[in-house]
């Protein structure tokens, strides 16, 4: 039993991947003919924004932090993009959206890294600020033209040759960057080190605040990017666009094996976690589960996976 537990502990991604495969199997059995290349493409398409959001969250969880402002940032970036495209053109509007991500990310980073504020409160505050500012902004520009650039719609919902989702061309490089960055670069190792033992890092002469600042900035940018992809999928920016993704993004990282206490985990698990949650969602939709039941099952499964994982690693 202990040997089995040890085996599973070292291969938690494998376990989750098996669960994912089982989930796909369940779908194939209860609704034969559903699992087609087309279905697969759609699943990947919808998983991409979640994967991007969860990527930022993974970086922060590794440092022992968390970001509750990502949903507001993603929504804000999408809204800025759609309401400014007509006036200043696509590239400038895109930059504006990403700038919002960078700004809030930096603000979070300064609060957490320099002022040593608990990440949960800091990002709660900046999230409220961003969300409120967007509501005020939307009142100011009411009646102005909302336009989603065609390129963004293609990015969010297009499929190359009818099978390969276009947003994969954004998600895959980002994923490669995060995977390699965490494993092979100095900054990546420092993220783990800071999350594992901040005091030791300080004594070792590491400028912890720089590491944290970089992580929060990256998370803000990833959130803005996710919002831009998301608005391409929905083709309409409203002020609650990304709200439903906040908890799944954190959940994807956690069930992917990243510890909320920092220092343990990685983006590989998060990717599987994001796919798992997307497939779970599509299974519940297939079953015609009413919204309340969906929510209850979703919460229970996250809890169950987190509990199992904690048992294995303790």
């Amino acid at each position: 039993m202990t040997r089995l537990a040890g085996f599973l502990r070292d291969r938690s991604i494998l376990v989750l991947a098996l669960l994912l495969a089982a989930l796909v199997g369940v779908i194939a059995v209860i609704r034969p003919g559903t699992v087609t290349p087309d279905w697969l493409a759609n699943t990947l398409l919808f998983a991409a924004p979640l994967g991007l959001l969860a990527g930022g969250e993974t970086l922060l969880l590794l440092t022992g932090g968390i970001d509750l402002s990502i949903a507001a940032v993603a929504t804000g970036a999408a809204y800025l993009l759609s309401s400014n495209t007509a006036a200043i053109g696509t590239p400038a509007a895109l930059l504006l959206g990403l700038a919002l991500g960078a700004l809030i990310g930096l603000l979070n980073g300064v609060g957490v890294a320099v002022f040593r504020v608990q990440p949960l409160v800091m990002t709660l505050g900046t999230g409220l600020m961003t969300e409120g500012a967007m509501v005020v902004y939307s009142q100011k520009i009411i009646g102005e033209e909302q336009r989603i650039p065609a390129a963004i719609v293609t990015l969010g919902s297009g499929k190359l040759a009818g099978v390969v989702p276009v947003d994969l061309f954004l998600w895959l490089p980002v994923a490669a960057l995060l995977l390699l960055g965490l494993r092979r670069t100095g900054l990546g190792r420092l993220l783990y080190a800071v999350g594992d033992n901040q005091a030791a890092c300080r004594l070792a002469g590491i400028r912890v605040w720089r590491v944290l600042l970089a992580a929060y900035l990256a998370c803000g940018l990833l959130a803005a990017l996710a919002g831009i992809v998301l608005v391409g999928i929905t083709n309409a920016a409203d002020l609650s666009l990304a709200n439903v993704y906040l908890l799944p993004a954190i959940a994807a990282a956690i069930i992917g094996g990243t510890s909320i206490f920092g220092g343990r985990g990685g983006y590989g698990g998060t990717i599987v976690g994001a796919l798992f949650l997307t497939v779970l969602d599509s299974l519940l939709t297939l079953l015609d589960a009413p919204e309340p039941i969906k929510q209850i099952l979703y919460g229970s499964i996250i809890l169950l996976l987190a509990a199992t994982y904690t048992r294995l690693t303790d």
């Binding site: 040593r116 409160v121 709660l124 999230g127 509501v135 005020v136 987190a306």
Partner: protein, 318 residues
């Protein structure tokens, strides 16, 4: 001696002054501010203050509860859907049962996180999903109701026009639940496990048991918050609670309770709930888009915690 005493009770001194300052500003910009406005302020602050109370107990014990709002929603829809045709006595009985249910729900949250050893944030996050689903199962659309006598527990005034029932009710219920806890062995152990779990354990405190009880007390406050929502809105709404998880946490932070646990009291967050309710009111009086309220609320949280961080930083440098 006096300085130490002052420092220990700084929030008790600062928070009432802050509320008074906010009220003074309100009266200055809106000279008509009268008994009716005080009453609606107390009504608006009641659910938020109770949400903050629920969060305060858990935060003092070193945890955090992200399911407060959903639990409030469950209590809210349960009350509105069962009280609709009940008399006043029946409504009170139902309210008592719902408080019991709140304690039970808190115990479930606490038991799951103690036995699974999954961090508080994750458990209560997932629990928030689950309670939210249950609220939707009970009442899909906003509806239901409660007898007028029950609504009057919060509405209306006591004696003179200047003492709203909602304020009296808040003081009475919070004191009734919190004072016995605070001034018993349990209160001491709550603070002990919040400030240093290992030290508390080595001093013979039952850490798991105390954590669980913190969530039970939090559950009772959440249920009270849900009942308050029924009183102030008159109906049940399955999505009514979502706002209160984060706003309650905001009130806790502004009220001077340390999120690392073990420090702070119940009074601070109560005053903070009034301040957070006054801000949008003032903006309306000033003819400013009340949506700025959320921006200000967020900025306030950020400034408060950054100021706290700076103070700690300066103290450790000195």
């Amino acid at each position: 001696m006096t300085a130490a005493l002052l420092r220990r009770h700084a929030t008790l001194l600062v928070m009432p002054l802050l509320v008074a300052a906010f009220l003074a500003v309100t009266v200055a910009i809106h000279p008509d501010f009268g008994a009716f406005d005080v009453q609606s302020l107390a009504l608006g602050a009641l659910p938020l203050a109770l949400a903050a109370a629920a969060q305060t107990v858990v935060v003092i014990s070193g945890g955090i509860d992200l399911s407060v709002g959903s639990l409030m929603a469950v209590a809210n829809v349960l009350a509105a859907s069962t009280m609709q045709h009940a008399g006043f006595g029946g409504a009170l009985l139902i309210a008592a049962l719902i408080l019991l249910g709140g304690a039970l729900a808190g115990a479930v949250n606490g038991a799951v996180l103690v036995f699974s050893r999954v961090p508080d944030v994750v458990v209560t996050l997932a629990a928030g999903f689950i309670w939210g689903g249950i609220a939707l199962l009970i009442l899909e659309q906003p509806g239901g109701g409660a007898p007028q006598g029950f609504l009057d527990l919060a509405g209306g005034t006591l004696g003179g026009a200047w003492l709203p029932n909602a304020l009296v009710l808040l003081v009475v219920v919070v004191a009734a639940v919190w004072l016995p806890v605070r001034h018993s062995r349990l209160g001491l152990t709550l603070y002990a496990i919040g400030s240093d779990r290992t030290a508390a354990f080595r001093s013979g405190v039952g850490v798991d048991r105390t954590r669980l009880i913190a969530y039970v007390v939090g559950g009772v406050f959440s249920a009270l918050g849900g009942l308050a929502l029924t009183m102030t809105t008159g109906i049940g709404s399955p999505l009514s609670g979502t706002y209160y998880t984060l706003s309650g946490l905001a009130a806790v932070v502004v009220g001077g309770v340390s999120l690392t646990g073990g420090r702070g009291g119940m009074a601070g967050p109560m005053f903070a709930a009034y301040i957070l309710t006054l801000i949008p009111t003032d903006l309306i009086f000033l003819n400013i888009d009340p949506n700025y309220g959320q921006v200000i609320q967020g900025t306030l949280i950020v400034l408060v915690v950054m100021g706290g961080g700076l103070a700690t930083l300066l103290r450790t440098r000195a």
